[in-house]
Structures are given as C-alpha cells and as structure tokens.
C-alpha cells in the first residue's frame, strides 16, 4: 500500500486509480489520479437583442442547467490617474453575462451566451463573439430599434445570425416580412417568429441558425475566391 491514500486524505473514488502524493508535499508537482481527460470540444452561440428582449428566458428554455450568471469586472480608471484623488475615482462596474449549456455529445458541448444588453458594454462583445459559431438575435417588435445594434455588429463581423421575433404573450402584430423590411437584413438571413419561453420554439430557432451557418459555409466554399 504505497499509494498516497493510506493517510485517508484522498479517497479513491474510482476504485482503480492510484492516487499519488499531494502536490506541494512530494515536490514533484501534481499528483496522478486516473488522468483526467477533456474529450469535449466547447463551442458557443450568442443570444443577442435589446434589453428585455427575452435573452435569458430563451437560454433557460433549452439549457440543461439553470442559466448561470457570471460577472466581468470593469475597472474604470478616472481621468486623472496621476493624481492621488484618482484613487478614489477608480471604481469597478460589473457586466453580467447569463449563459446556459447543452451537452450535444460526450465530445461536444454547446454554450449559449446572452450578450449584455446595454450598448456601453459593447467592447465585451468582441471577446464574446470570438470563435462563436453564430448568433440568435431576439427582436421585440415593441422596441424593434433595440436590436439594430446587434444586427449591425454581426453583419460587420460576418458572423452568421438569424432573427427571432419574440412573440410576447403569444401575440405578434406584425408579419415577418414587415419585420424583415424594417430591419433591412439580407434576404438569406432567416427571420422567424418565436416564443422565448417555449423549448420547442427555441430548438426550432437554434436548428434554423445551425442550418444557416452551414449554408453560409457552403456558399463561401463554392464562391470564387478573391
């Protein structure tokens, strides 16, 4: 019994793995248990839209976990940094990100990230958008203008997106075509009615998004280069 669990510190939970000495005690670095593996590839899509468009509700409708909230900390340094009084003005602001998770397969995990609604947190979008497969833009026809910035953002960065027109209380007074015209998006961009509270409806939107991403890739593949 030369294994490190003889002192009872490290219960052998798998039953077959040898636990080594604890890191820091042996001086040889981390211990060896059954070597953990990370076989899953993480991917993400973004859920955008104006404040109150239903982003977190949508994430909650399909996520396998209760949507989690994480906070990014922004340190806002006052203008006069070289001034001692600047210390008092160095304040922090937090931007909340809500997200959910869908385990697609043992080797593939999809994360859904709601983007911060307020436009002053736009710089955060760049990190969020990096590597994103695509985006769902939730439109609220009572405040259609609030999703214009999201549409602009994804168009400029050539990130494929679909528009979900959220039907609050199941009511949608405008036809999809009117919304499409008002948003002035390319003909290929799917514009669909949805209910952010309804799992099937959200699944339908996600399916439309992935199909749209695939179609965009195929077009890019066949298009002449240059």
């Amino acid at each position: 019994m030369a294994s490190g669990n003889s002192d009872g510190q490290f219960p052998n939970r798998t039953g077959d793995a040898e636990y080594g000495n604890a890191p820091g005690r042996s001086g040889t670095g981390a211990a060896v248990r059954a070597r953990p593996v990370l076989e899953a590839l993480p991917v993400k899509v973004l859920i955008a839209g104006g404040f109150g468009a239903g982003k977190t509700t949508l994430v909650g409708s399909v996520s396998e976990i209760v949507p989690l909230r994480t906070e990014e900390l922004l340190t806002e340094v006052g203008a006069a940094v070289d001034d001692v009084t600047g210390v008092e003005r160095k304040t922090t602001t937090t931007v909340a990100l809500d997200f959910g998770r869908i385990t697609i397969a043992a080797d593939l995990i999809l994360y859904l990230f709601g983007t911060p609604g307020q436009e002053r947190f736009w710089f955060m979008w760049d990190e969020l958008a990096q590597g994103a497969l695509g985006a769902l833009v939730l439109a609220d026809t009572r405040r259609l203008g609030s999703c214009f910035p999201s549409v602009d953002f994804f168009e400029r960065r050539r990130i494929p997106f679909v528009i979900g027109v959220n039907c609050f209380d199941g009511v949608q007074p405008y036809p999809v075509e009117a919304v499409r015209q008002a948003l002035d998006v390319d003909g290929e961009v799917p514009v669909l009615l949805c209910d952010a509270r309804d799992r099937e409806s959200v699944k339908f939107l996600l399916i439309a998004l992935v199909e749209h991403i695939m179609a965009t890739l195929r077009v890019a593949d066949t298009a002449p280069t240059g």
Partner: protein, 123 residues
C-alpha cells in the same frame, strides 16, 4: 507620503481594487487562450490543506468535473477576470488541465456543425 504627480497604480501599491486582492493585484492571466468556454478540469480536486489558497481550493473542487471558465466563475462567485488569473496559476502549477474551443480564425467544421444540428434535434 506620496509625491504629487507620483503614480499610485503599480504593483508595489498592492491591490487597490478589492476583488483583485485574491490575485495579488494581477489582472492578466499568464496562460493565454483562457476564454469563456475553455474547459478546465482538476487533476486532483481535493488538495491538501495549505497547498493552495482557499479560492483556488474552491475552484479545484468545482472542477472535479470538466467545466468551462465561465461556469467556474459563476459557481465560485468571483468575477471572470479574477477566476482567469487563478485558473491560469492552477494550470501552470499543474493542478488543472484545459482545452480551448476551436481556433477563432478558422471557419467551423461542417461535420461538427452537423453533430450540433443532430444534437439539438434530439433534445
């Protein structure tokens, strides 16, 4: 006593912003490519007493199962930037391993997308 015009914002001044106290004032992670969705898992979730700081021990326990950096931040209730620094330390000290998402500059792979599509349909 400070000299007028002297900058206070340096390492010697120590952590002036409280959440960064646990990172000893550092705001940048040493391990690059730690993104929101980067997966991390503890090599050894239960570490011996004083081997690591309490916040790091908490992170390791949370990472007994693979988690994304964003999930870790939410579960240990620390700001993302702070958690990234701590995770980065833990990776460098070989307490954790990580796996990043697909490289951002490359277009997504169609086979992977098909898998996502099939997965969502089966939900």
């Amino acid at each position: 006593m400070s000299v007028p015009g002297e900058t206070w914002f340096d390492e010697a001044a120590g952590p002036l912003v409280r959440p960064y106290a646990v990172t000893r004032g550092r705001t940048r992670a040493a391990v690059p490519h730690l993104e929101l969705i980067t997966l991390v898992v503890a090599v050894q979730p239960e570490v011996h007493g004083a081997a690591v700081e309490p916040e790091c021990a908490h992170i390791l326990r949370v990472c007994a199962l693979p988690r994304s950096v964003a999930e870790v931040a939410a579960r240990v209730d620390l700001p993302l930037c702070v958690v990234k620094v701590l995770i980065s330390d833990l990776i460098e000290r070989k307490y954790m391993i990580f796996r990043a998402g697909p490289p951002p500059a490359t277009p997504p792979d169609l086979t992977m997308l098909q898998k996502v599509l099939d997965g969502i349909r089966k939900l």
